[in-house]
Amino acid sequence: MPEKQLINRGNVATSVGFGEGLLQAGEANPLIVALGADITASVKVSPFAEKFPRRFYSLGIAEQNCVGVAAGLALSGKIPVFATYSAFASMRTLDQIRVSVCFNNLHIVIGGAHAGISVGPDGATHQALEDIAVMRVLPNMTVISPCDATQTRLVTIAALNELKGPVYIRYGREPMPDFTDETTPFETGKGQLLKDGTDVTIIATGHLVWEALEAAYALEKEDIHARVINIHTIKPIDQDIIIQAAKETGAIVTAEEHQICGGFGSAVAEVVAKNYAVPIEFIGMNDCFGESGQPSELMEKYGMTAIHIMLAVKKVLTSGNKVIEWNI
């Protein structure tokens, strides 16, 4: 665990980390190829495509075909990367991902760009808020939601070089705090304890990890000691770190830039409910579509900021017995 407080080195979009990671992995491994569905620059595949034009296939606005072609390339020994906006990467293509990719258990990295409501002015159609739920239900799929640009770079390299089978990586467009460093090395499937605490645990993913840290530091001033855990690998999820948090702190708040229903909070709740039931509050989209607006305005309006996390912490701490007493 980092002994010092993590600081924001400056805002960088997680998409930048994806682009850097893809390029870096591609330089080392000639088997890596990338597919484009017309928005190559926007989803940060361009640096790879420009450096390795013969390993980049432009397939036009035809996402279902992109996934099938990726499956064919993987079956023939390549390691394909297909990135587009996460709304389309995960949902337009769902049947192809389910059958051609997951059922065949192929090592393909799917990049879900522009994830979350923080994509902003484009509005609801382009704000993927269901992709975690949809991807995590698929057998064989690994689902990763890194918390900042630095981590996204490490995740992308690991997904290409170390993981087997299908991997979905979710990343965003809006520049967000870049704060992970050498004290928080990335290990697939392992949650990260970013701040210790004994009263409650905030378990967050993606962009909301920084908000969770801000909330926890602010709560210290009110004498509430919140633990903060970053779960980047949503599937397979690190059960141990969640169970330990439930046992040691007795209450949990989950935070994600995604629908509460079926998403990351649900994944945490599955672990908690089965192993050590404690009260949980969920921060995320409450079963509705987004709308146009500036990212910060939208995060505020839909309740996904540090302040909202603080309120959820107070609510969960006053929700009665922290540890449910079972009456048998």
Partner: protein, 275 residues
């Protein structure tokens, strides 16, 4: 493996494949009889003449790839693979049973040798074939990709996304074979959703289009050879077939798309096939 051009041999092989298809589906109590029987001549021609493959070495890197996009006709693929020696024919009767390697639709994770793709959701196989063909081009490999499609399957939009991309990349190493039996579950394709002018559609998408009699071994083989000569374009063979071919009493009857024969019907079918 050794190839045969003998019509008599191929006829015998196709008959054996058909008889096994009937046995398998009857034993399973469910399955797709019509299309499996209708494709038997094409499968016999492919696996005993057209394809370069090694049944004893299914992962041979230089093999031609055959993608069965219409996973529901798995019985004809399984019967042909067994006929070619990929596994023992005894196993055919385990079709659709618990723990069988012969799943209702092809499933690689169950370990049956000779399967290139787990498939069953229509409209996906051509994209996979494109990916394989791109890889062969990139790696300068000479193996050819064959993908088998139903005519009804061509109603899926993703087929045409794939078709566009194959032409864009000049993938002359793909040959798509369309099982043009004019039948689908709800009825005749012309009534359910018109596909014509089919030849012109493929042509407009940049493919070289061939047609053949899907029950003539010499025509199938000759057309596959012609298709392989294409220099710049992917090729499609529209193979005119009859659903249920070989069993006169059910030929061209769309109601047999997804129906299994009873034990008595199976006996009758096999009698007709053996005649």
């Amino acid at each position: 493996m050794t190839k045969t051009s003998s019509v008599k041999d191929l006829q015998q092989l196709a008959r054996s494949i058909r008889i096994n298809v009937v046995h398998m589906i009857a034993e399973a109590g469910s399955g797709h009889t019509g299309g499996s029987l209708g494709l038997a001549d094409i499968f016999a021609s492919l696996y005993f003449n057209v394809l370069n493959h090694e049944p004893k070495n299914p992962q041979w890197s230089e093999r031609d790839r055959l993608i069965l996009s219409i996973g529901h006709v798995a019985p004809v693929l399984y019967a042909t693979l067994a006929e070619a020696g990929y596994f023992a024919k005894d196993e055919l009767l385990s079709l659709r049973k618990l723990n069988s390697r012969l799943q209702g639709h092809p499933a690689r994770d169950h370990g049956l040798p000779g399967l290139e793709l787990s498939a069953g959701s229509l409209g996906q196989g051509l994209s996979v074939a494109v990916g394989m063909a791109l890889c062969a081009k990139a790696d300068k490999k000479n193996w050819h990709v064959y993908s088998i499609h139903g005519d009804g399957e061509l109603q899926e939009g993703s087929i045409w996304e794939a078709a566009m991309s194959a032409a864009h990349y000049k993938l002359n190493n793909i040959t798509a074979i369309v099982d043009r039996n004019n039948c689908q579950i709800d009825g005749k394709t012309s009534r359910v959703m018109e596909l014509e002018p089919l030849r012109e559609k493929w042509k407009a998408f940049g493919w070289d289009v061939f047609e053949c009699d899907g029950h003539s071994y010499t025509d199938i083989i000759k057309t596959c050879e012609d298709a392989k000569q294409s220099v710049f374009r992917p090729t499609v063979i529209i193979a005119r077939t009859k659903m249920g071919r070989g069993v006169k009493s059910i030929e061209d009857d769309f109601r047999w798309h997804g129906k299994a024969p009873s034990k008595e019907e199976a006996e009758d079918f096999i009698k007709q096939l053996s005649a």
